[in-house]
Amino acid sequence: MRQLIGTLLIGLTLGSIYSLMALALVLVWRSTRVVNFAQAGQAIVTTYIAYEIVTRTGVFWLAVLFAVVAGALLGAGVEYFLMRTLFRHVDEGPVAALAPVIATLGLLGVIKSLVGMIWGNDFRSFYPPVSTDNFVLFGETIPFSRFNILVILSTTVVMIIFSFIFQRTDLGLSLRAAAFQPEIARLAGIRVGPIRTIGWVFAGVAGAIAGVLITPNDVLSPASLDVLLVFGFVAAVIGGLESLPGAVLGGVVLGIGVSFVLNYVGTTLIFPTVFVVLLLALIFKPNGLLGSKKVRSA
């Protein structure tokens, strides 16, 4: 029982971080139809910035603030300077669909090498604001710490803010309209170009928060967020790639799945498990966990 609860709690912690990364990928996918592999690169830069702040000042939340601002700027920069330029030059045929994805993959490589040149390739520790020691309850250790609680609370707050923006504000409505039917959105008077940039900004913010929340339980290196990118992408696909709540649910389901394998089987089976979960989701729920689209055609 103790192990079961611990496993679920760990799963929830991991899952909430996967959800954030999934959210970032879905936001970009919805706004520009690009799978942004560079999301992990953007997040590694912001996490190193946060690392610099936290080692100099010791103030975790200041580091988060810097990471968020940097994430927003990086997201806007990649969309504005790379994606727009690319779309202006390749706008037709199969290349138009593939080129941006390959470009983000290339960008990920460039960012990782740059980060390696600036900060080196050695592992660094990122000190958490609260203890990562496991709780002891009735003399037994539960694999769950204060920091894990902080992770779950922070991601919940971020999700609430995002869902408020998307469901209750004019900006959110513009973002959704531009994501689903850009042409109709333009005919309704929505400036789709800047709205897309804002989609990338939000994605950059979500990715930056994911980076600073996962690193204290892990180590920091130029490649340390690669696994997060893979898991975030799988979570996004499980959620249907279009749906923000789907991405969150996909992240949590995947996190709990990974946690069970970690605690009951071992680390060696994690990747095969993720792969199996992805396949099952694609076979049985190809429109996503929350997707049940029945469009009336008449």
């Binding site: 959704r176 109709i184 959105a185 333009r186 005919l187 008077g189 789709v192």
Partner: protein
């Protein structure tokens, strides 16, 4: 006074020419029907006038100012609303949200609410379905929603692309009478693209007949309807 002036407009899709030297004028408050078979260039004409497509040569002005090469979102701000082909609604949004997006650019919530109320008065069926997702609507309701959304933008010039497409005759009649009603009550200038030639010309003041991208006739709608040569060649009956 001519409001919409199209002069020698030529538009191509790559190597294929869709419109060749098309010229016509629409007066303020007038309803013009643009008639023609599939591939006549009707949709291309509207997409060019609303900024979705670039012209190759020629000119088009609305109230004496150029509209070619402008962005659709800017033309909306100048009073031009385009209801594109095939029930232009966003199925993932609710009926209400589909209406609201037409007014977002004005940043005037009370004005938008008022315009939504007017759209619902014109199409009461929308009012019963405000919180439903737009993909639950029937084809006719979607068309009403698309026109409703355009109205929330408070247009002066309404460009309608085949509102009758795929709808039952009774619904077409309702939609057409709503369009006529709008034109007269709001003093709207309307360009109505239709394959349904007779119904369109019956409510129109003037007509433009296109064939394979060229203008073959234009003038008073009643005269066009009565012309036996046009009837057999282009109006299909």
């Amino acid at each position: 006074m001519s409001s919409l002036v199209v002069n020698n407009l030529t538009v191509s899709h790559g190597a294929i020419r869709a419109l060749t030297n098309v010229s016509f004028e629409v007066q303020q408050g007038e309803l013009t029907a643009v008639i023609g078979a599939n591939g006549a260039g009707k949709t291309t004409l509207l997409r060019t006038l609303s900024g979705l497509k670039d012209a190759e040569s020629g000119s088009a002005t609305w109230r004496d100012r150029n509209i070619l090469g402008k962005r659709p979102e800017d033309l909306v701000r100048r009073g031009i609303s385009h209801v594109s082909e095939g029930k232009s609604v966003i199925p993932e949004l609710t009926v209400r949200e589909n209406l609201v997006i037409g007014g977002l650019w004005r940043r005037d919530k009370s004005g938008t609410e008022k315009a939504i109320k007017e759209a619902v008065e014109l199409f009461p069926r929308l009012g019963e379905r405000m919180s439903q997702s737009a993909n639950t609507l029937s084809g006719g309701e979607r068309q009403m929603l698309a026109i409703g959304r355009a109205l929330v933008s408070r247009p002066k010039l309404l460009l309608l692309d085949e509102p009758s497409l795929g709808l039952a005759p009774l619904i077409i009649e309702q939609i057409f009478s709503a369009i006529k009603n709008l034109q007269t009550s709001m003093n709207l200038t309307v360009v109505l693209v239709e394959q349904n030639a007779t119904s369109a010309l019956e409510i129109a003041d003037t007509g433009v007949i296109l064939n394979l991208g060229e203008l073959v006739a234009s003038g008073n709608a009643k005269d066009l309807l009565a012309d036996p040569a046009l009837k057999s060649a282009y109006l299909g009956y």
